[in-house]
């Protein structure tokens, strides 16, 4: 039997990206400002992590205009939900292995 950490997805297995996916799994969508405030990130930091998740197909980024102001909404994709679920399963398995 392989060690549970062997199944960890490097894209998701990172505190900030795991946080982004967790927020999005609870909601239909969240905007850039909400993610930044909730996770305590800077604009640049959040942008970089979102790009990694978008490139992996885990989130969709939707830029809209709201009262002439641009607004960036982020949505979790089906693959993103699965990746989050797999990551959490691996973490639980890793903890259980030590118990």
């Amino acid at each position: 039997m392989s060690h549970p950490s062997n199944g960890l997805d490097d894209t998701v297995h990172q505190r900030t990206r795991l946080g982004i996916l967790t927020v999005l799994a609870e909601a239909r969508r969240a905007d850039f400002t909400y993610l930044k405030t909730t996770l305590g990130l800077s604009d640049g930091n959040l942008s970089r992590h979102l790009q990694v998740l978008a490139d992996a197909g885990y989130v969709e980024i939707d830029k809209t205009f709201d009262n002439r102001k641009s607004r960036t909404w982020v949505l979790l994709t089906r693959q993103g939900r699965q990746a989050l679920s797999d990551e959490l399963d691996h973490l639980v398995a890793l903890i259980d292995r030590v118990r």
Binding site: V23, A30, T33, Y34, T38, L91, I95
Partner: protein
């Protein structure tokens, strides 16, 4: 990755979940709104008539649903996080449509029982809302309200007395729970 890191990550995930769920809390507004509407229904049935109550809910039900949808839409825009509204919307439409349908069917059997049926549907819908929001205590309260409605529907009371009693009981409980959810959400933030 070691055991400690995995535990810390899972703890962080739980903390983020808790925070987002608080931001998305969705029971207090509809409970307060429909609690007030229920008390309005009690006044209508006592002061005017049972038929007036049906007309009242034909207007107040959809209007309350629309007001709730607008509230959530505006909140999502201002806070930047939007709940998945499909299931709650389906439950809300089910309560409004189901109440009238079940009432019309039950009226063929017994007027007192028919008067209680919309409240049974509301209790069933409220239980579903509570489960969606993971508020098990309120789900238990909603089941209790449904059982009370069933008991009154099978009693010897007049239809008007059943409607008035249940409107007041549901209205007061909805308002109390709405205020409780609002306060506890504010305190836990």
């Amino acid at each position: 990755m070691n055991h400690h890191e995995a535990t810390t990550l899972l703890h962080d995930v739980e903390e983020v979940r808790r925070r987002v769920r608080l931001d998305l809390e969705g029971l207090s507004f509809p409970l307060l709104l429909f609690g007030v509407l229920l008390l309005g229904g009690a006044v209508t049935v006592v002061v005017v008539s049972g038929l007036a109550l049906a007309v009242y809910w034909a207007v107040a039900g959809p209007a309350g649903g629309a007001a709730t949808a607008v509230y959530f839409y505006r909140r999502a825009r201002s806070e930047g996080v939007e709940p998945d509204g499909l299931l709650p919307m389906a439950i809300g439409l089910g309560i409004i449509g189901g109440s009238f349908l079940v009432y019309a069917l039950a009226l063929r059997v017994d007027a007192t029982f028919a008067a209680a049926t919309p409240f049974m549907v509301v209790a069933a819908g409220s239980t579903m809302f509570a489960l969606v929001e993971r508020e098990l205590r309120f789900a238990g309260v909603a089941v209790g309200l449904g059982l009370t409605a069933t008991a009154l529907g099978l009693s010897a009371l007049t239809p008007m007395a059943v409607s008035a009693t249940l409107s007041v009981a549901y209205g007061v409980i909805f308002i109390l729970y709405g205020l409780t959810f609002r306060r506890s959400t504010r305190d836990r933030r």
